[in-house]
Amino acid sequence: MAPPVPNLPKTSSPSQPSGKSEVADLKLQLRQLAGSIAPGSDDSRREIFKKVISFMTVGIDVSAAFSEMVMCSATSDVVLKKMCYLYVCNYARSNPDLALLTINFLQKDCRDDDPMIRGLALRSLCSLRVANLVEYLVSPLTTGLKDSSPYVRMVAAIGVLKLYHISPSTCLDSDFLAMLKALMLNDPDAQVVANCLSSLQEIWSLEAGNLEAVSREREALLSKQVVYYLLNRIKEFNEWAQCLILELASKYIPSDSNEIFDIMNLLEDRLQHANSAVVLATIKVFLYLTMSMTDVHQQVYERIKAPLLTLVSSGSPEQSYAVLSHLHLLVMRAPILFSSDYKHFYCQYSEPVYVQKLKLEMLTAIANESNTYEIVTELCEYVANVDISISRESIRAVGKIALQQYDVNAIVDRLLQFLEMEKDYVTAETLVLVKDLLRKYPQWSHDCIAVVGNISSKNVQEPKGKAALIWMLGEYSNDMLDAPYILESLLENWNEEQAPEVRLHLLTAAMKCFFKRPPEAQKALGVALAAGLADSHQDVHDRALFYYRLLQHDVSVAERVVNPPKQAVSVFTDAQSSEIKDHVFDEFNTLSVLYQKPAYMFTDKEHRGPFELAEELGSLSLGTGSVEHVIPAQSYEASDNDLLLGTSEKEESRGLGNNDSAYSAPGYDTSLISLEDKQVQPESNFLSLAVPTMPSHTSSVLDDLLGLGTPIIPPPPTLKLNPKAVLDPSNFQRKWGQLTTSLTEEFSINPQGAVALKVPQALHRHMQGHSIQCIASGGQPPSLKFFFFAQKEGETSPFFLVECLINTSSAKAQINIKAEDPTLSEPFSTLFRSALLALSPS
C-alpha cells in the first residue's frame, strides 16, 4: 500500500518540480504553521500535507521535512493525522534516526480518547518497521490488546504479527501469543477474533519448526473445540474472515462421519454466498472432509457443480478463469460426473483465449460414448475459428478424443475433412493427429492413406506436419502408389529443408520404402544416404552413417531393425503424472491449481526456505537438536552469568530453560523461578539431548579430533568459531538467498560414522560440538540433507552457511558453502570437513 520508497535520483526535468527548492519552501510553511492554533490553520496545514504527500507519491524525496511534519502533527484533525502517519511510515524505514522522533507522538496518540486515533497510531507505530525501535512497541501493543474498543484490539492483533516480523524474539519473549490466543477464544468482536487467528497462524507456522510446544499449539488450533467454536460463529464474521476459518476447517480431521455431516450441514448455505472466495473455500472443506467416503464425495461433486458453474458465468474473465481452473481439476478427477454438463464448456467467441483453452481441455476429458458426437461437432466448429491457436487446440482435442474412444469411425471422417480445408496450419495439425491415430488404430490406414495421398507435400510447411507426412509415406509406402516418387521429390529439396527433424524422418522413410519397394526406392535411398552423410547436423549425419553401415553389414538385419512388425500403441503417455495431479488437488484453492502444478514446482527454492525441503526429501524432521537451543538461549545468556554457575550446570539449566520456555510460552510467565521448579522434575527428553553436547563445548576442536582418531586428519584449522552463534531461521533464509555459493566440495566420510547416521539428529549434536549449528534437516537414510550455520569467533563476525548432502550408504558427502566473508570459506571448509570426518559410530 505504501508508495514506492523514493530512492530515485531527484529529477530535474522541466515538467517535474525539481524537489529541493519546493521542499525547502514547504518546510518553511510548515514551520510557520507548527504552533499555530488560529482557526483555519488546520485547513492550510492540510493543503501543505497534501502537497508533501503528493510529492512523496511521485517519488520526490521529502524526508527533509520530517521534523516539521512531526511538529505539525499535534492536531486533533483526523485527516491530518492520517496523512502524517502515512508520511512517517513511508520514511521511517529509510531514516531510522528520524523515526525515533515520531515514537513520542505516536505513543501519545496511542493513549488518545478517540479509539480511531488510538487504532491508527498503534497501526502506524507497528508499521515503522525499524528494528531498534521495537522496545517501544511492546507496551502500546499490550495495552492495545486490552483496549475497550474492538477497533484498537483488531489493530493490535495484527500489530503483534508486524512486531514478529521485525523482531521475532521480542515478540515471543513477551507473552503476546498467549494474549492473542485468549482473545481469539473469548473476544466478542468477530473481526478481532479473525485478526488474532490470522496472526497466530502465521507466527505459529513460521515457528513450528523451532519449538515443539509451538507445533503443539498449532495442532491445538485444529482441535474440535476451536474449530467448532469458530464454525458456529461463522455468520458473524465478514466474508474475508470466513475464508480464513473455512481454510482452517479444511485441515480439521473429524472423528466420525456424524461430525462430517454436521459440518457440511452447517456450511451448506456458504455455497450460495455472493463472494466467490467463500464458495471456493467451502468447496474445499467439503471435498477434504469427504475424502474417505467415496459415495458422499461423489455427492459433493454433484452438489458443488451448480455453484461453480454459476461462478464461471458471472464476473470478470479473470474470475471465470480462476473458477474454471478449479473446475478443470475436478473434471480431470471425475470426468464421468460432468459428462452431461458438456454444454457449459462450449467456448464463446468473445471469451479470452486462456478461458477457451481450458474449456477445450475439459471437453476432451468428459467426452464419452454418450456425448462424443455433440462434443466433436462443436469442436469442429472451432477449427474455423479466427484465432489460430484455438483452431489448433481444437484439432488436437478432436484427436485426443479419437485416441480415447473405441468408436472412432465418425471422428476419422471429420479429421479427414479438415485436410480438405486447405489451411496450412489445419493440415499440419491434422497430419500429426492422423499419424498418431494410425499408430493406435492401424486398421484405419486404408481410409486415411487414401486422403493423405492426395495432399500435395508442397502445401505442408510446418516441420511437425511434414515429418508426420513423411512418416506415413515410409510406413505405408505399400498402400501409396507414388510414395517413392514423392519421397524422391522431397529429397531433392534436402538442402532447403531447415528442420533436422524432417531430414531425420526423410532418411528413415527412404529406408522403409526401400525395404517395401526396393526397385523403385533404391534411387531415393541413395540420394538420402548421400545427403545425410554430407549433412552438417550431427544427428542426421550419424543416422545416415548408421543406416549405411547397417546395410553394408547385412540387409536382412537392417530390415529387421528398421522395419520390424509393429504393435499398435495402446496408450499414449500422459504428460502429467497422476501423482502430480493429486498433489495439486491437495493444494485446492491456491495458485497451484491455476498453474496446474504443485507449489514446490513454481516457488523459488530460496523462498521456500530450508523448512520446506520436505517437498523434495519426502519427510522432514526439523532441527530439533539445535534450533531450540539457539533462539531462546540469547535471553538466558544474561541470567546465566548472574547465577555464576559452573559450566556444566549452566548447560543443564540452559537446556531446561529452553524446555521451560517452550512449554510456557503460550500460557505462563517465563521467569527464573519456574525454571528452577522444573529443574527438580525434568519431564522431557531435551535434557538428554542437551547434556551430551556439554563437554565438547568446553574442549577445543583439536582435542576432539585427536581423541577420536579418524583415519585421515586434515591439518589443524586456524579458524576459530563462535560456539554460541545465533541465527534465526528467517535470517538464515534471507542470507541464504542473498549470498552466492563460494565453495562446493565432495568427499568421503567415515563409513562407520555414516552408517550410524540413522537419524539426522545424531549429526546435529555432533556438529554442535564443533560449534556448527544445524538449522534444518530432512530426508531418510541413505540420503540426508542438512542446513548448517556457523559464525567466526566474535559478536559481529561473519557467518557461514552450509548445505550438506550426505549419502550414508556410499559414505559420501557434498557441501555447498555460502560465506559472508568468502576469503574464509576455504579454512571453514577444512574445519567443516574435519568435523564431519570425526563422526564416529558411538
Partner: protein, 341 residues
C-alpha cells in the same frame, strides 16, 4: 493465498473506489489520493482484508460529494472522517446502519437478465442460458424486514445471495427474506438453463467463388417477447484474408472499422420489412474460397420482460410505516449472443 480471494478483493476495492469517486481512472485517483489512501487503510492491513462493506466504510470516511463539501463550508467543520467509530461490526446486521433515517420511503426491485446463446449456421440453438441478477435499491428508515417471493422459483438453476439474505426461508419456501442495506445492491444472482425461446434470429449466408464472397444477413423476430426489442446490433469480425469490403443495409447503419470489424446498428425492427445486410467481400489474391467464417455477435435490449420467465410475486415489508413506494422493473439484455456462419 486463495486466488479467488485476491481477485474478489480487488474487484471489491474497485467497486468501493468507484462508489466513492464516481468512476475509476488514473486522474480520479490522483485527484482524490488522500481518500484512496484512507479507504485502502481501512480495507486492508498487513495483507489481510478487513471491511469492504460500502455502508460501514461510508460511516468511517465520508465520500467526497458536493453535499459534504457544502456542509463543510457551512459548518466550518472540514473533516470528511467521522469521529465516531461505526458499531456495525458488532451489530447483527453489519451491512446496515442501525439508526438510519430516510426521507423517502421507497424500494425498487430490478430484474436484470443477460441471455447467452449460441446458434449454429442452420439456426439450431446450440446453447442457451440466462444469467440474471436481482438488484434492490432501498431507501427505508429503521430496520425494515423485506420478503420477496417469486411466482415460479423452481425454474432457477442455482442462486447466490447477498449476505443479508436468510438462508432457511429460501430453503424451505423459496422466498427471499432479508434486511436490506441502504442504497443499491445486488440481492441475488441466478442462472436459468434449458431455454427454448430466443427473441431474434440472425441468418447469415456466405457464398464464395473465385476470390469473391457474397454476404447476406437477415435479421428478424423469432419469438415475440411481447415488448419492443431495442438497440439491436450485429457485429462481426472479417477474416484477415478479406482484402476489401462493400456492404450496405436496407435498415440502420453499417460501419466497417479499421480492424475489419463490421458493425451494423439496427435499432428497432421495422414493421414493414425485415432488415437485411448484403454486400461483397473481395478476398486476397490467390485465395479462391473463404475458409474462416466470422461469428456474428448480436446485441439487444428488451425493457419490461425477463426472458427467463421469472416473475416476482410480491414484496412484503415489515417494521415500517404504511406509506411507502414499491417499484418493480425487468430488463433483458443480450449477453454472449452468437450466431455462427
Amino acid at each position: 493465498m486463495p486466488p479467488l480471494m485476491g481477485i474478489e478483493f480487488l474487484c471489491r476495492v474497485a467497486d468501493v473506489l468507484t462508489g466513492y469517486l464516481g468512476g475509476l481512472n488514473e486522474d480520479l485517483i490522483k485527484d482524490n489520493f488522500i481518500i484512496v489512501y484512507e479507504l485502502l487503510d481501512e480495507m486492508m492491513d498487513n495483507g489481510f482484508p478487513l471491511t469492504t462493506v460500502p455502508n460501514i466504510l461510508r460511516e468511517m470516511i465520508a465520500p467526497p460529494n458536493i453535499v459534504s463539501k457544502v456542509l463543510s463550508v457551512v459548518t466550518g467543520k472540514s473533516s470528511n472522517v467521522s469521529n465516531i467509530l461505526p458499531d456495525a461490526t458488532a451489530s447483527p446486521v453489519p451491512w446496515r446502519k442501525s439508526d438510519l433515517k430516510s426521507s423517502s420511503n421507497e424500494v425498487y426491485v430490478d430484474l436484470i437478465e443477460e441471455l447467452d446463446a449460441i446458434l449454429s449456421r442452420e439456426g439450431v440453438l446450440v446453447k442457451c442460458e440466462v444469467y440474471g441478477e436481482v438488484h434492490v435499491n432501498s431507501h427505508l428508515p429503521g430496520l425494515p424486514d423485506l420478503t420477496l417471493s417469486f411466482a415460479n422459483p423452481s425454474i432457477l438453476n442455482d442462486v447466490r445471495f447477498h449476505p443479508c439474505v436468510r438462508f432457511r426461508p429460501w430453503e424451505g419456501e423459496q422466498i427471499l427474506s432479508f434486511v436490506p442495506p441502504d442504497g443499491e445492491f445486488k440481492l441475488a444472482s441466478y442462472r436459468v438453463k434449458k431455454l427454448k425461446n430466443i427473441p431474434i434470429y440472425v441468418k447469415p449466408q456466405l457464398s464464395s467463388s473465385s476470390g469473391h464472397c457474397r454476404v447476406s444477413v437477415l435479421v428478424g423476430i423469432r419469438n415475440d417477447p411481447g415488448k419492443v426489442i431495442e438497440n439491436i446490433t450485429v457485429q462481426f469480425q472479417l477474416p484477415s484474408c478479406v482484402e476489401s469490403v462493400d456492404v450496405s443495409s436496407n435498415h440502420g447503419t453499417v460501419n466497417v472499422l479499421a480492424d475489419k470489424t463490421c458493425f451494423w446498428s439496427i435499432g428497432r425492427i421495422p414493421k414493414d420489412k425485415s432488415p437485411n445486410l448484403s454486400g461483397n467481400l473481395i478476398l486476397e489474391p490467390g485465395l479462391d474460397r473463404l475458409h474462416v467464417f466470422p461469428v456474428f455477435r448480436v446485441g439487444f435490449k428488451i425493457v419490461g420482460v425477463a426472458l427467463s420467465g421469472l416473475q416476482i410475486n410480491k414484496l412484503e415489508i415489515k417494521n415500517l410505516p404504511a406509506r411507502l413506494y414499491k417499484g418493480f422493473r425487468a430488463t433483458t439484455k443480450a449477453g454472449e449472443y452468437e450466431v455462427r456462419s
